[in-house]
């Protein structure tokens, strides 16, 4: 089953989707409008790039410290949590054990993000992964 459909089958998952590293392409299911899903995709892409940059800095101080490549991030709100793993995101309610379940599924389905995350994400668009990404 596709990861987004699998996530949406879990009670308490508000919305889930996939975003592209480059460009405006995204897809989603759940309780978001098209415009809000587009905004969510942009936020997720920006945060993913930001934490990848931070991890590169950490590793320059401690090689093989276990932070790279970054798999994702979580923002825990008072009632809603946003999870991003690879180029998938989900908005979930703060229910007991839901965050752990969603993170387990997202990590299992996306798998460990291989080195060179950006090239990996761009490759999904069929782009030239040798092209400079910055």
């Amino acid at each position: 089953m596709h990861i987004v459909k699998q996530l949406m089958a879990i009670p308490g998952v508000i919305a889930a989707g996939e975003y592209a590293y480059r460009g405006d392409r995204f897809s989603y299911e759940g309780a978001l409008t098209e415009e809000f899903a587009r905004m969510a995709s942009i936020v997720c892409r920006a945060n993913t790039l930001s934490v990848n940059m931070q991890a590169e800095i950490f590793e320059s101080f401690a090689e093989n410290c276990g932070c790279r490549p970054v798999q994702g991030w979580i923002v825990r709100g008072s009632q809603i949590t946003v999870c991003a793993v690879g180029n998938y995101f989900s908005f979930i309610e703060n229910r007991d054990e839901l965050l752990n379940d969603v993170m387990t599924i997202m990590r299992a389905k996306v798998g460990d993000v291989q080195d060179d995350l950006l090239a990996s994400l761009y490759a999904r668009l069929g782009g030239d992964t040798k092209e400079a990404l910055y």
């Binding site: 991890a55 932070c67 809603i80």
Partner: protein
């Protein structure tokens, strides 16, 4: 915080992100220098997340984000979970994110 499943390090930092205190699990690859950088990134990420949450709520009318209860960055082998002035690093394999977020809530 070091009693959390898979905890590798726990630390506190000031509002500018400077490391104030820390505990490292013996044998971990993490160093005080990395923890200091982590603490600074936690302050930055919390500020960015707060800005995004505030903007999202204002634009969409969807509540439920503020006040934030923390952020986590999930690395290859470990995750850092932070809120306020405290953070904890847990092994991904053993991570209980909900317990970690609960542990970093300020009293």
């Amino acid at each position: 915080m070091m009693e959390l499943p898979g905890a590798l390090a726990a630390f506190t930092y000031n509002d500018r992100g400077a490391l104030q205190s820390h505990v490292l699990r013996e044998g971990t690859e993490l160093t005080p220098q990395v923890l200091d950088l982590l603490a600074r990134s936690c302050v930055a990420n919390l500020a960015i997340a707060s800005m995004e949450a505030s903007g999202w709520e204002a634009l969409t009318g969807q509540g439920g984000f503020q006040p934030l209860k923390g952020i986590s960055v999930v690395g290859l082998e470990w995750s850092v979970v932070a809120n306020g002035n405290r953070g904890v690093v847990v092994k991904n394999r053993d991570a209980d994110y909900e317990a970690a977020f609960n542990a970093v809530q300020t009293a």
